[in-house]
Amino acid sequence: MQEALLSVRDLTKHFKPTGFSRGSVVRAIENVSFDVPRGRVVGLVGESGSGKTTIGRSVLRLIEPTSGEVRFNGVDITKLSAAQMRRHRKSMQYIFQDPFASLSPRMTIGQILTEGLEIQHLGTRQERIQRAKAALAAVDLPADAFGRYAHEFSGGQRQRIGIARALALEPQLIVADEPVSALDVSIQAQIVNLLRDLQIRLGLTMLFISHDLAVVEYICDTVIVLYLGRIMEIAPSEKLYADPRHPYTRALLSAIPSPDPAKARTRQILTGDIPSPANPPSGCVFRTRCPHAAQQCAAVVPPLEEVSPGHFKACIRHDVSG
């Protein structure tokens, strides 16, 4: 087993209603455990309310998990003080979904790229500028971008700036939260190629969050499928697409509209809505929409079981999921 750079154990986050809001506790993620080996890309995939962003943010402690451990380089960062955490944070960077909202309109690209380095007191002013310029070059943006503002760039270029900002700190771990979802189709593939290229060249370790299974296939070594805050399936990427085991993974793959009119219109359509994480079903959280749900699915939370090396599924209907 390769050494894990990031190791998440029994991570749970409950959002309690605060202030004037009433209602019950939102169980965003429940006992989630997984590893991200050094130099690998792990995908977190799920629909709204699956907890994928909550996991991404908890890993960087942008929100505080309710319980569980997040081990980074062997250190449980959930126990660190704010000052200790700041030292670790330069090794962990976040790429946001919306390249329009995540770049300050009043800062030049140069200021955006050097800000993190200044906060972390890294290098002299000259060295910081050098590193920022190197990051710009790494994402294939022209050097003159340094003195310009975010509004002068297209969506795809802005996302490149967001990636450069993360790279400038030379992090060990990057959490990319839906980095291509806001982009046009023809630009999405450019950015995925860039991230893959950088990942290989710089040996980056990445947690790649997406709602789209089709987008993560190329970049991820391992894919984790989430539903209502729980892991349904974990598999090496080539296994997940060729031999999905969990009924939810199968339904999710089947729901992706196929650009082949001959293949289209044979979808398996899940009935019903995604339940509220404030009131998740008992037992298997997917059972209310699962075409194979049986009585015992309501009684027990299905454990993650290994079906082949590195391939896990949380489904007790072995007759269906194999």
């Binding site: 629909e47 709204s48 297209s154 969506g155 795809g156 270029q157 046009d184 189709v185 023809s186 630009i187 999405q188 593939a189 450019q190 995925v192 190629n193 893959r196 290229d197 709602h211 789209d212 299974l213 089709a214 987008v215 296939e217 190329y218 990427s237 080539e238 697409y241 060729a242 339904a251 999710l252 793959l253 089947s254 729901a255 992706i256 509209p257 196929s258 650009p259 082949d260 009119p261 289209a264 219109r265 979808r267 359509i269 899940l270 009935t271 809505d273 995604i274 929409r289």
Partner: protein
């Protein structure tokens, strides 16, 4: 024999005033939709697909955008054909929500948060069909059942915030269908939804169309959705249609380099793993969409096109008829 179209757009040019200068957001657009037919208008940001649909509905931002050229002939429920570009605001209001109905991307912005779902579905039937409050309320409950909302009596009494995203979109579809429109304009109706819910809504739209025989203008950026739902497709780029044809033809034999590039750049399940193994990148279209303020000379796609030659930069190519009902705005279409 082809049935006479319900919508016939000819030579449409829609102009926006940007910084005092007129900029053509859409030009040279020709489209028809037959009764019961679904035409998908597909393109990326700034392609003009939404501006085309807003032009049909007469919902261009006042004082900023207007139809500068062309006609939009529409045959309503009463059977008479009118040019929508010539109608005043009041006549347009009679048509909207009645003969032509709309479903937008974000159901929460089309629903009024302070009225119940039932009231909002009943309203167009009172206004356009003259139904009483009681009859309209009963009809609204039936519509909610038609769009697959369980327990419609209870849902009709609820407010939009009490419904899930998928349920809200079903409710806006019920509202759109209230007056039995001839044409439904659906502008990215599934883009804000989760993929399993999107599959439900696409399925619902197809079922409703089969029952009611309305024409659908379906605006989307997603070619996968086009393949699922449409009969014919028009691909737009930088304000112009670059390729049209039946979905079967265009997907099997795209005749424009932009369509070809767009299809290649859609991630296809299973393919990425093979590319990764071979160490190859995902197929992309180089560069980005040009600004409408500074369109390149000649073919707008030429700067990004791997097949571009000198002649492409000379003139805007016409839409060539490929002989099979497909049309391509590329001077090299015969080579694809």
């Amino acid at each position: 024999m082809r049935v006479a179209p319900i919508l016939d757009i000819a030579g449409l040019k829609t102009v926006f005033r940007i910084g005092g200068r007129p900029v053509a957001a859409v030009q040279d657009v020709n489209l028809t939709i037959a009764p019961g037919e679904t035409l998908a208008l597909v393109g990326e940001s700034g392609s003009g697909k939404s501006v085309t649909s807003l032009s049909v509905m007469g919902l261009l931002p006042k004082g900023v955008g207007q139809v500068a050229e062309g006609s939009i002939l529409f045959r309503g429920k009463a059977g008479q054909t009118q040019d929508l570009t010539q109608l005043d605001a009041e006549s347009m209001r009679q048509i909207r929500g009645n003969d032509i109905a709309m479903v937008f991307q974000e159901p929460m912005t089309s629903l009024n948060p302070v009225y119940t779902i039932g009231e909002q579905i009943a309203e167009p039937m009172r206004i356009h069909l003259g139904l009483s409050h009681k009859d309209a309320a009963a009809a609204a409950i039936k519509l909610l059942a038609d769009v697959g909302i369980p327990d419609p009596e209870r849902r009709a009494r609820q407010f939009p915030h009490e419904l899930s995203g998928g349920m809200r979109q079903r409710a806006t579809i019920a509202m759109a269908l209230a007056c039995d429109p001839v044409l439904l304009i659906a502008d990215e109706p599934t883009t804000a939804l989760d993929v399993t819910i999107q599959a439900q809504i696409l399925d619902l739209l197809q079922k409703l169309q089969a029952e009611r025989g309305m024409g659908i203008l379906f605006v989307t950026h997603n070619l996968g959705v086009v393949a699922e739902i449409a009969d014919r497709v028009a691909v737009m780029y930088a304000g112009r249609i670059v390729e049209t044809g039946t979905v079967a033809e265009v997907f099997a034999h795209p005749r424009h380099p932009y369509t070809i590039g767009l299809m290649r750049s859609i991630p296809k399940l299973g393919e990425a793993t093979a590319l990764k193994r071979q160490g190859k990148p995902l197929p992309t279209i180089a560069g980005s969409v040009p600004s409408l303020i500074q369109l390149p000379s000649g073919c707008s796609f030429a700067p990004r096109c791997p097949y571009a030659i000198e002649a492409c930069r000379a003139d805007v190519p016409p839409l060539y008829d490929t002989g099979t009902g497909q049309r391509s705005r590329c001077i090299r279409w015969q080579e694809f």
